[in-house]
Amino acid sequence: MNIVIINYNAGNTKSVENALLRLGIQPIISDDILTIQQADKVIFPGVGHAAPTMQYLKERNLDIVIKNLKQPVLGICLGQQLMCTHSEEGNVDCLGIFPVQVKKFNSNNPNEKIPQMGWNEIHQLKSPLFKAIPENAFVYFVHSYYCALSNYTIATTDYIIPFSAALQKDNFYAVQFHPEKSADVGNLILENFIKHC
């Protein structure tokens, strides 16, 4: 199977590549439009800032390419946020795959640190992406912005407020957490994407 990880200026591509290699899969890391379009499955990772990243994608026409993909696509962290309609991070319009707003955490409680950094539980799992994953499984999050709950929410979590830990619409899947850094649970989620999505 031909798995392509989109290589761009906000990618934690190495970590995702390592995670797939541990599953016995050699991914292709590319920003070439044809290579991405011809993949069996596409992973859209991301660590960084929304506004310059959208700018970078637009300059290379990758924004159009990504939202028109027909094969299964998995967005990770910033990847998920960029697949939404709009982000408060840099007040930027994003790919618009999920009709969802990306908002900044807001808390005056000194116990609620921003970013959320660490292991939190996921609930109300409903997607082949979470096949055999138990309710309340722990995954690793690092983020200051979140995707609001919506009809496309396939996993919820709670930090300051309840929000979407994962989204799905048609062939597009996305997770706010880092499956590549979420120990055995994360491995299984990546394996599910490869085998069952």
Binding site: V47, P110, K113, I114, M117, W119, Y140, V142, Y159, S182
Partner: protein, 250 residues
Amino acid sequence: MLTKRIIPCLDIKNGETVKGINFVDLRSAGDPVELAKQYVVQGADELVFLDITATVEARKTLVDLVRNVAAAINIPFTVGGGISTIQDVDVLLNAGADKISVNSSAVKNPNLIDELSKQFGSQCIVVAIDTKLEDDWKVYVKGGREATPLSTKNWAKEIQERGAGEILLTSMNNDGTKNGFALDITHWCSAHLHIPVIASGGAGTKQHFADVFNIANADAALAASVFHFGEIPIPDLKSYLKKEGISVRL
């Protein structure tokens, strides 16, 4: 619920794990990659690798080590020690480190924190502070060998303003003593900063971990020798913390 993190720290010298007792008198505790894998199985939430040699020759060894660790484990890890340029950080993140930590170089050139967080994002920039109680808590550099006039409280606030994503606070008074974490300065940082605080130095018993979470309100606790020598197995520690009402990943 977001859980409190337990972080074993592996001090690295020439590619081997060592642990300083009060920063001197080093004992070897094994192969870093094997130790790292063992800690993942035990349920460590993150790992920290501190290169305590950090000479030019050791730097290449460290990058190779980071590459090997990144290939072997699937939890986040931080690399620190001797990092002073954007180039250093770029190499380590590309080798697979999730975060890097800076210490002396940030004190010497505070703009480095702004530059790194702007270039790579705050989430991967940890600023480590070695602190010692004198008339007030003061910042030390160069592995605790050199005093500075900086107040720890002022410096902690400044690094947050400059874009640090997390603070790793080591009390030199407590480090290596196994008498518990420095609860007062940890609590001060936790109460006055909006970024996560990792407490370090002094862990000797499971109760010490409960105290640093319950009393000092740390977000994470880091320790080395109690884990490396099996004095406190991580699964036992986490079960204990859960019984004490602390949210942990089991």
